[in-house]
Symmetry: C2
Subunit: 297 residues, 2 copies
């Protein structure tokens, strides 16, 4: 059996999963998405949850990436330490069944610093394998937990996670600012003001409260969400740019609605960025890992 | 009727309230506390909620401070703009009934900056009136929304709010770090590491995730809560100290368990602080406002 003749690749996260049937031509023939994230599958229920994917997309070899390989997932695929390239990743797959492989995450340690990723490595190393980004680059992958990744010689050599997406959601859902953050986040003037404040070193834990204060004083807070996004993303890119060379052109990989906001923030910081679609990068990564599986079998 | 012959002072916040019966000697003769915060009282229910206080502590004049004077409270006592001293506060009381007064909050505006406080002014100006702090000082009032307050010539001239307490609670209750933040926050080595990271300019939205990464990599995270507190409080004092003169000795007013952590963080930043109990400061403020009510009647 050669995987490349037809396989399914699934990006299986904490709250949802997306699976793609890839034909012998390397193209996506069919796809599915549902809310059956790792947290919604009971222990012992992964076999059935995987069978559902094959029922929908066909009885093919299956490559899984994301939190499905964590200790809350199906079978743990231990983190591959940096420096990690796609060869190292493909060499450390976990095999819960004969025709099913799980992609491991990547870890970083240096002194007191530590970080982990799970899922983003497939997209980032996939984009590299497809030649969409240079072998040495600074990559930003926005999401619940944004990853800033340093690539050197086709490998992930270090990275840092920023909890921007999760903090924004916590503020929006549970904080005293909730009512003022109900609108959309747009790269407008308020967003720019937030980015500049954060890049200038202002404490975002302090600046955020001005949104509430303005509301209490009767000002319009229609742009509260954009300002809060600007503050959080400004602090985020401030931390992330420190990871790359000063002249590096950052590569943004992820959901277009998020990469758009990060590109706008980077522009305010004087940096042009390249935006890549996360789905395309994921499929490139899955195809390359499958090639490596076939080469080694 | 002279209020100073006997009155009740109540600090009525969002989630709970505390009331004190003050005798003619200025001492607290009796007190009560319950969870009947402003958010738990229905519109139209404040008359009855106030009657309960008098039933418990006596049929006396009643001075209310805190969120009870907000637009979610009983009767709105509009913010007094900076510069605001205790005379301005006492001159802007709201009177929902003949023998009941509500203390107004304080607001600050300058350019695009805005801030509000409600409740802390009584403690801070009370400590000033009682001579517990000098007429020009930098005050820090830790809590859900920490206030850093600049005092000049016995008045609040500017202040800034830092959402440290609320953010810590959001992370502890709803975030991916929840399990790692279940322990106590202590001024230990992890706390110091967090304070130094934040004071050194590290992005706390990034540093916080190391707690999760270490857990995923099998390290002990028993001190996660202390590290997170150190990061948040470090960023907080970094923002707050900028408000005062470089040589100012900050005055900490509030709950002793919180002022202790802030004093430890300030010491790491090379600043000795003075700690004052918030309850004592509140009673001093209430007594002074009541004197001013009597003088003016």
């Amino acid at each position: 059996m050669r995987w490349a003749e037809g396989f399914i690749a699934a990006d299986w996260g904490t709250t949802n999963r997306r699976a793609y049937l890839i034909g012998a031509d390397g193209r996506c023939a069919e796809e599915m998405e549902d809310a059956k994230g790792v947290l919604s599958v009971r222990s012992g229920g992964f076999g059935a949850a995987v069978a559902e994917i094959r029922e929908r997309l066909g009885d093919k070899p299956l490559l899984l990436a994301g939190m499905v390989g964590s200790n809350r997932g199906w079978v743990e695929a231990p983190y591959v330490p940096c420096p990690a390239g796609i060869e190292e990743i493909a060499g450390a797959l976990a095999w819960p069944e004969e025709r099913t492989a799980i992609v491991p995450g990547v870890s970083f340690r240096e002194g007191d610093d530590a970080d982990v990723m799970r899922g983003e490595e497939t997209q980032i190393l996939g984009a590299l394998a497809a030649g969409l980004i240079p072998p040495d680059a600074l990559v930003c992958h926005p999401g619940t937990h944004n990853k800033w990744v340093r690539l050197e010689g086709l490998r992930i050599t270090r990275f840092t996670t920023v909890m921007t997406g999760e903090l924004f959601n916590l503020l929006k859902e549970h904080s005293i600012l909730a009512d003022q953050l109900s609108g959309p986040s747009e790269p407008n003037g308020s967003f720019e003001r937030g980015v500049r404040k954060a890049l200038g070193g202002a404490a975002i834990t302090s600046e955020l409260f001005t949104i509430r204060a303005k509301f209490a004083l009767g000002d319009s807070t229609a742009d509260g969400s954009s300002y809060a996004s600007g503050l959080l993303i400004g602090a985020d890119i401030g931390a992330g740019l420190a990871l790359g060379e000063p002249e590096a052109r950052p590569i943004l990989i992820g959901r277009p609605d998020l990469t758009r906001l990060y590109a706008a923030a980077l522009k305010i910081a004087g940096r042009e960025a390249t935006e890549l679609d996360g789905e395309e990068a994921f499929l490139a990564g899955a195809r390359r890992i499958v090639e490596l599986i076939d080469e080694r079998s």
